[in-house]
Symmetry: none
Subunit: 251 residues, 2 copies
């Protein structure tokens, strides 16, 4: 088996349940304990997982109820979320993807008269009691921990919907486009892109240059990116030459 493939698989398994024991990885991936350890070491040093005794825990945009309550969103995410919310005009129909940043965006939407479509349970729970927001939930198989509905049913439901804007997050951005770690999620997000007139990507600057398991879409599918000023000039050029508008918040 190829190295990258094995590591991707480890990441995927780690993401599913948040925790993976080393032993489980040994049996599921089929490599020796030593190799898995080395992989975990690599993935830890590259910041994708956190090694713990006996296994590893997934880092990244998985929002479990634990995470959202304990560690609040970082300052970058807060600022990005607020700016993104400012872009949204009253009366719009907004499609909201799952993720910690989009959840923060949802927090800032309260008070505006909006129609909100989402496949994220945390976002729906947040907005459910707001009379000024008409909420439509996109059903499907609910992915554990993140509380995001995915799969064929979600895709089918999305086919019948239309929104003026999609606010989405991503696992990584390169010149090739956007990436995410979960194949089912990618499929659902692709359908979201099709359903929306305008695509607004929220991504803190650490996402640039990151590449994850599944390719989601080319850069040209995105209309604008809201990010923080940690983005290098280099990436700014890549993004703007692809015809995307960039909104940069100062931290």
């Amino acid at each position: 088996m190829i190295v990258d493939e094995r590591r991707s698989r480890i990441l995927q398994i780690a993401e599913e349940s948040g925790f993976v024991s080393l032993q489980r990885l040994v049996t599921e991936v089929g490599a020796s304990e030593s190799t898995i350890r080395r992989d975990l070491e690599f993935l830890d040093s590259s910041g994708q997982i956190q090694r713990t005794r006996g296994g590893a825990s997934y880092l990244g945009d998985s929002l479990s109820d634990f995470d959202s309550r304990r560690s609040r969103a970082s300052q970058e995410k807060q600022l990005i979320a607020r700016r993104t919310a400012d872009l949204i005009a009253p009366g719009e129909t907004v499609l909201l993807d799952g993720g910690t940043t989009t959840l923060e965006v949802a927090r800032h939407l309260t008070g505006k008269t909006l129609q909100v479509l989402t496949n994220s349970l945390p976002i729906a729970s947040l907005l459910m009691n707001r009379p000024e927001i008409e909420l439509i939930f996109i059903g499907g198989y609910v992915y554990p921990r993140t509380g995001v509905a995915l799969g064929e049913q979600s895709v089918e439901a999305l086919k019948k919907m239309h929104a003026s804007r999609l606010v989405m997050s991503t696992g990584g951005i390169t010149a090739d486009g956007l990436f995410n770690s979960n194949a089912l999620l990618v499929e659902t997000e692709r359908q979201m892109i099709r359903a929306a007139d305008r695509v607004t990507l929220v991504a803190d600057s650490s996402k640039f240059g990151q590449r994850a398991l599944s390719h989601l879409c080319p850069l040209s599918d995105v209309d604008e990116i809201v990010t923080d000023d940690g983005m290098s000039e280099e990436w700014r050029l890549v993004i703007e030459s692809a015809g995307l508008k960039t909104e940069v918040v100062r931290t």
Copy 2:
């Protein structure tokens, strides 16, 4: 078992009721007393719980606080919910309607390996982090306050689903059948009945004789009723002559 996993579990248990005894943790987590003590010490020093003699109390908003804030379910509902949960065998595919009683049923489902379909946001939020439960959400227009998905999209989604059992609530029961106050809700519930092999109705005894806006279905659509012993003998005859099984819990 991995350290972090065990500590997360301790936190989760602590959160549920606000306080946990050490002994309960020993049996539920399956670690030795020493280990649990060490974990409690750690969680205390990191400020997540407060150790007390005999156990520990959760810091922050415990779920039971949350529950008691929004009037806790009555004793009847609790008992009905527990009995209903006992009827459900591991491995079943259960369709759960919205409502406070069905939410209580959902609470008692944790621990069983099940497939759960629901259109209720509160139920989905409750079950979303339970690894033993595969959760499928039925999307649609989210009705404010109750957090239940309704409407054409929900009906369409339900047409493609099938469950071994439906647990539903109702606004009122007469010899003519079941009633509910919301036309959209009635439509969705009718489709639920079609999608399920067996229909279990949860209804406290005050519902008998009540008639609401919309007629939902005849009594013959229901297979069994779980209720409390406030039901009069008269109603018992009506129900049983319609061929329904009745489960009566003693208050």
